[in-house]
Amino acid sequence: MEGSQPETDASTAPPLAALAITSREHTDVTTRDVVFDLRDVDLYYGATLAVSGLNMLVHKNVITAMIGPSGCGKSTVVRTLNRMNDSIPGFRVSGQVLYHDHDVYAGGVDPVEVRRRIGMVFQRPNPFPKSIYDNIAWAPRLLGQKHNLDERVEKALRGAALWDEVKDRLKGSALGLSGGQQQRLCIARAIAIEPDVLLLDEPCSALDPIATALVEELMQDLKKDYTLVIVTHNMQQAARVAERTAFFSLDVSGGKRTGVLVEYDDTEKLFTRPSDKRTEDYVTGRFG
């Protein structure tokens, strides 16, 4: 880099800092609409505080990843978003979990309606023991979306990058598909009811590398229509896939283990210049 300034001319070079990434494409996703707003959220299992002091915004059409060591509450947090933890006895939420400004845990909120808009894909593929067609068509039928079922099924399967592989055997059993195909079927099943948000709880842990890559690429397409939140214990996956990443860790002070959100930022920033030393230690592998 040239150190000396040109002597006489008025059009001197601007100082170095201003030369930073101006024309390189860097979209600021935090300007988009807020889908989830978590305010001072504490999550309890009975008397045990599982996650503490959670404040976080999730934005529209963005892939947000949650990473961190095992047991730090990532799955608990994501299952809190669509009230899937209701069936766990003793589970309790304090603070506000706002979804488009509605508190998901307010009295009078129908959890079934919550889950209608916030869908979920699980760690192990769990297709129903029905045909491929019925797996996808079953929920829309029950929810009253009865007309144009064939188109709906095709649209969902195309959206999950599965149509070409199964279009000739829609009546075949879903259990005859490979693991990667079953997981994409579960994604198709989830998007068939046209949710607003898709939560993915370690969606690739049970899949081989090629199936994983297919699902990761699929997510890039899905984010155009849905807001995605993904929990993963594979931080490289979060690095590849997500625009925003939240790093959770365990606070072991006071003899109790509580999950806390340590750092939440653009993925690139988290993996090149993390602000918190705990984040740096985790992503560089200096501690698990």
Binding site: N126, L175, R189, A190
Partner: protein
């Protein structure tokens, strides 16, 4: 280098023949295996003896007329068929099933889907106690509740049998329902489907085969129960009748009982024949149920 000292038997490079007290251990092993095998053979032998004896004594009675004709009527009547008992048993058991199945299935659904550990425990305890209740006590109860002061009736027998069947159906159904993986229910809930619709649309259809199996087993069990019918539907005529609500119906267990006490050898023979029919029904029912169960268990694994 081995740090195990100079013990030559511990040298890993030695040839692989038996060492140490292996010979004694082998003998003990063989002895215990022999004992266990003998016990298993004994169990099979007992069943075989029962089957062989009963079939031996009763197979000669088996004929179309035996199965389709009523017992001979008249003052000197001996022999004849057991058609009335077959029809009677079928009706009594059918009515019992109609009474017991819905209750048993619904109890199981409550236990697996809706109960908390606190509410589940007393209910399971009650079911276990009911299961262990002597059938004669149930029979007396049914008599006292439904018949005392009045006339015997087939449906009272069905009622008593239903009480016996409920715990069986509830337990079998419960086992089938818990076989349905939790992930399947979760998947349905995550789609915004209510709990009851999930049960009706996903859980029950998946376990239907198993539930039917449980029903078949319960039916097989109750078809052979004698004591409950003793008090409720034991005084009956020799002709086939279907009036289950008005009068006592003939049934196989009681035919066996009364015929065996008769003075006439022809009646004894008929009792053996009836026993063969009953035993065959139980065996076929059990084996068929087991086959259906095996198919059910394999249903949730990906092929």
């Amino acid at each position: 280098m081995s740090t195990l000292g100079a013990d030559p038997l511990m040298d890993p490079k030695r040839p692989l023949s038996a060492t140490g007290n292996l010979r004694r251990r082998r003998r003990t092993d063989r002895l215990m295996r022999g004992v266990a095998t003998a016990a298993a053979i004994l169990a099979v032998a007992i069943l075989a003896i029962v089957i062989v004896t009963v079939t031996g004594k009763g197979a000669s009675q088996l004929s179309l007329s035996f199965l389709f004709k009523d017992p001979a009527v008249g003052l000197d009547a001996v022999g004849g068929g057991i058609a009335n008992a077959i029809v009677g048993t079928a009706l009594i058991v059918a009515l019992a099933t109609v009474m017991a199945a819905p209750i048993g299935v619904l109890i199981a659904i409550y236990l697996t889907e809706f109960s908390t550990p606190r509410t589940a425990r007393p209910i399971r305890l009650v079911l276990d106690l009911l299961n262990g209740m002597p059938s004669i006590v149930i029979g007396v109860f049914a008599y006292g509740l439904l018949i005392e002061g009045g006339q015997q009736a087939g449906w009272a027998g069905s009622f008593a049998l239903a009480i016996i069947m409920v715990p069986l159906i509830a337990r079998a159904t419960g086992e089938m329902l818990t076989l349905v993986p939790r992930e399947l229910r979760e998947a349905s809930h995550a789609l915004g489907i209510s709990r009851w619709r999930t049960i009706v649309g996903i859980v029950l259809p998946s376990s239907l085969g198993g539930i039917l199996t449980g029903l078949v087993l319960a039916v097989a069990r109750s078809a052979g129960e004698t004591a409950p019918l003793l008090f409720t539907t034991s005084i009956f005529s020799n002709s086939t009748t279907v009036n289950i609500f008005g009068t006592a119906l003939p049934n196989i267990p009681l035919i066996i009982f009364s015929d065996s006490e008769s003075a006439f050898p022809a009646d004894h023979a008929r009792a053996w024949g009836a026993a063969v029919v009953l035993m065959a029904f139980i065996l076929i029912g059990n084996l068929g149920a087991r086959a259906m169960l095996a198919r059910q268990r394999g249903k949730f694994q990906s092929q």
